[in-house]
């Protein structure tokens, strides 16, 4: 057997599909030919490593608990919807801020609710003193604060994941945080504690959260 013929049999051999005379011939060629011997040994050793090398990482110990917590209160059919809701929450909040910035709501610096940890007193932004303090700067949005808030939201998401807290609860918190932002933005801009036309409502037309290529896996 020549090398070229031998090489054509490598895959069948490695797939475990070579037997009989051809297998014997390949075996004989392997003994004589250092190049084919090395090539086959390389594939066998690689296969061995891929098969049996231990993973350096393991799944989080509470993975099952967290996963099942997501499914606790909702019937199976609506889990996906709930998950998507969570994905919307972060981008939606940011989009709301950006949209308001574009609309010119933030004609003064905005105090973001993000700095306030749950349970701590929130800054008294509705006090006349505070409103008077906020100087008009001409900037439509304080990017630094926005970035800070987005990072904090990101951290909160990670923390929720680690603590296994329910997604629904987090969704509610994010919504109320967004409403805080809107409220404070309004206070900062005109001194009234009122979100126009939508008390307690989430801004209409949330951005489409799902990337286009997500659609083809929705049919499962």
């Amino acid at each position: 057997m020549r090398c070229e013929q031998a090489r054509q049999l490598f895959d069948a051999y490695l797939d475990g599909e070579l037997s009989g005379a051809l297998a014997t011939e390949l075996g004989a060629h392997r003994v004589k030919c250092p190049e084919c011997r090395r090539a086959l040994a390389l594939m066998e050793v690689s296969g061995h490593i891929v098969a049996s090398d231990r993973d350096p990482v393991v799944l989080h110990g509470q993975f099952a608990d967290r996963l099942l917590a997501c499914t606790d209160r909702k019937p199976i059919r609506s889990w996906d919807r709930l998950r998507r809701g969570l994905y919307i929450a972060g981008p939606l909040a940011a989009a709301a801020v950006v949209a308001l910035a574009v609309l010119g709501v933030f004609d003064r610096p905005v105090r973001f609710a993000g700095k306030r940890v749950e349970g701590q007193p929130r800054p008294d932004v509705s006090s006349p003193e505070h409103s008077a303090e906020a100087p008009a700067t001409g900037r439509s949005l304080d990017e630094h604060l926005l970035e800070e808030w987005l990072k904090e939201t990101q951290e909160n998401l990670a923390a929720k994941r680690d603590s296994g807290e329910s997604l629904q609860r987090h969704f509610e918190l994010t919504i109320s945080q967004m409403l805080d932002i809107l409220k404070q933005a309004r206070v900062a801009s005109d001194g009234t504690d009122h979100v126009p036309g939508a008390d307690g409502q989430v801004p209409a037309s949330p951005p489409e959260p799902a990337p286009a290529d997500d659609e083809d896996v929705e049919d499962l």
């Binding site: 040994a41 690689s46 891929v50 993975f63 019937p75």
Partner: protein, 210 residues
């Protein structure tokens, strides 16, 4: 032969047991759901981590795969193994993730993201050379295309047949075989610097280690 090597695989539940679990889960039996998760989570994670190469992403993908599987549990056909079906969903989610990531990194022109360690820290019995060879092999595996990497990992690590791989990748058996064969061919090119002596050493040690 590389096949049939002992490895750390979980006990595979019988088809009948799987069918029972799925039936109970559909009847909203929480224990059955938990059992399905416990039985399959580590294997799925191992596969997905080798594809995504990021711990956090792999966990997210696994979670999404399970949630999608549970959401469409009533469409599960018992002619498949539950694990095969779950891997199919996981692979789809993972491909979407990789596509998104590539689009993102391409657009922003990031340099290649740092990958996590390939293998476990070397055990005391493992020589530096063996560790280096493992690192080389996994680095080469990382450079394969997604379907090539998937077939290689599913064939060797998860011991799936070509027929089962075809189900997971949702491709014809011939295409799957071609991906596996091209993966091997590419590995041979990428690992050209590895000498026969190194391979022999590795085998001797692997043999000695049991």
């Amino acid at each position: 032969m590389a096949r049939g090597i002992e490895r750390e695989t979980a006990v595979t539940p019988s088809r009948e047991y799987e069918k029972q679990l799925v039936g109970r889960a559909l009847a909203d039996d929480r224990l059955a759901l938990r059992k399905l998760v416990e039985l399959h989570k580590d294997r799925l994670f191992s596969f997905i981590w080798r594809m995504a190469r990021n711990h956090h992403d792999a966990e997210e993908i696994c979670q999404e795969a399970f949630l999608k599987a549970f959401a469409s549990l009533d469409t599960f056909s018992s002619e498949y193994r539950f694990s095969t079906w779950l891997f199919t969903i996981g692979y789809r989610v993972c491909l979407n993730h990789l596509r998104r990531k590539r689009a993102l990194t391409g657009e922003l022109d990031f340099t290649a993201l740092p990958h996590e360690r390939h293998g476990a820290l070397p055990a005391s019995i493992e020589s530096e050379e063996a560790g280096r060879l493992k690192e080389l092999v996994w680095s080469a595996v990382d450079r394969l295309s997604a379907p090539q990497r998937a077939t290689l990992v599913l064939f060797y690590r998860h011991e799936l047949s070509c027929h089962e791989m075809a189900q997971v990748l949702e491709l014809p058996v011939a295409t799957v075989k071609s991906h596996l064969h091209r993966a091997r061919h590419r590995l041979r090119e990428l690992l050209e610097s590895v000498t026969e002596h190194e391979l022999q050493e590795f085998r001797n040690r692997a043999g000695a280690a049991g």
